[in-house]
Amino acid sequence: MGKLTEEQRNKLRALLFQSGLTFKPLLDEMVDHVACDLEEQIEEGQTFDHALEQLITHLPAQHFQTIQLETMETIGKRFTLSRGLSFAAIGLLLISVIFKLMHLQYSEQLLVISFGLTGAALLVGSLSGIHTYTEKKGAVRILAVIGSIIFLLIAYSFKMLHLRGADQVIIGAIGITIISLFVNTIYIHRNASRGSNLLTFLHEKYTPGIERFLLLLLIPLMAYKIFAIVTHSDSFIGNIILILVIFGAGLQFIALNWRKMESDTTKKNTFVTTMIILSAVCFTLPFLGALIPIEVRLIDIASFSIIAAWLTYKMDDSKNFLSIFIVCLIPLLFLAECMIRSGILPATATGLFFNIPLMLFLCLALFLAPRHSILRAYILISLVSYILEYPLQGTFIFN
């Protein structure tokens, strides 16, 4: 009585598959569950088609697609196109660095392809999120942030391939970055409500992946830097990757602060908003490189380290000896760098602030900091900047 026929089961299965349930174990289970619901309705006198239509009508749009997405993320088995592209990008990036260190051909070309894959991964991931969570707001703001990263990747590709117009693309990328970070910060200040903002919602979902991506890059970059120090060589490619990791970690830092503003309204005020905007501007401007005077860049970096230290202390939940020590130490290091390069401190002071034990301490602090925390993002930016500048030389690498 009321049991579905094979034809009805097949129709149901095809409908669920078309609705986005492509993961077979979940599809099988949902077929059984929905079939039970339908059989209950049929037993009450409804026809199969009417019961099915009623059931589908009462479900939110993309319900099954969302279930699959959430289930896959929960069990960590999601292998999306975006994830595949990002793994391919990391792989090519590592191969490119190895090629460069071994003085083989095509390292620049491999890196450019890797940048292309990174941009594609970001675009696919965000478009998939926009398409899936249509009820949430902020598609344009997300695309602006992603666009700024893609522009920067294009700009550095132009530089590596010695193409004309690299500076113009960098100016465009930095302009978009500052505007998008400003608009997003103001939006969150005015409309801080957890869950409705697509940008912070997607960031929360992708945070483990973003952090893993940046940390994975850090390990070979450390090896590259040690190699560069030992052999007294300095590769442009290695430095470009370090700069891009700083950029990624900086965006991660700002996004984590946005999320904190949304989740804890006691931390949502005009002063915090101003500090986030200031930190975004100070952080972004040095990426213009030689387009702005070195003194301005040095002041920007030192200012960012101080403002970001304050934000870390204010916004992060972890307040212990390590976090307090870090937020005091890092601004001191970057202020010292600024003063040494400006001639305020003698060049002999370099060894006091830039040395192996301090670098190792920053590495250790990075792994001791809580996962996905503002503190960890702050340490990551600082450590990579430290690695980039180490050993402090006469020329400013950040260009």
């Binding site: 099988d28 289970e29 949902m30 929960t74």
Partner: protein
């Protein structure tokens, strides 16, 4: 019941509780049982139930077996030994929490000290 966020927060404990009292259950059965016990107040959606079931399974708290019933693959969930231990802890925590909540809500409407005493 409209307060979906309350249910989402407690769903893990609800599922552990149901499975602690029954040998094994499948998805539809869980939704029916919750609806029955709550006298129709709590109706679990597919979207609320399945991500949690898969999460509990991934955490090693649930184990599954599949049987063919009415020509359909039916997945049954049951508690693992660690799931049983956690169920006890979670149920106890939730019971204590609801007692505290009840005390707070009851007391909120009956102030023990009258402010009038200060005025006099």
């Amino acid at each position: 019941m409209e307060s979906k966020e309350f249910i989402r927060g407690m769903l893990k404990t609800i599922i552990l509780r149901l499975l602690a009292t029954t040998k094994q259950m499948y998805g539809y059965e869980i939704t029916q049982k919750v609806s029955e016990l709550s006298q129709g107040e709590i109706k679990l959606t597919y979207g609320a139930l399945y991500p949690i079931l898969y999460k509990l399974e991934a955490e090693g708290l649930l184990v599954t077996t599949t049987e063919i019933v009415d020509n359909r693959a039916r997945k049954y969930y049951s508690l693992t030994p660690s799931g049983k231990k956690l169920a006890k802890v979670k149920i106890s925590e939730l019971q204590r929490f609801t007692e505290i909540l009840k005390t707070i809500l009851d007391d909120g409407y009956k102030p023990k000290i009258s402010l009038k005493a200060w005025a006099n």
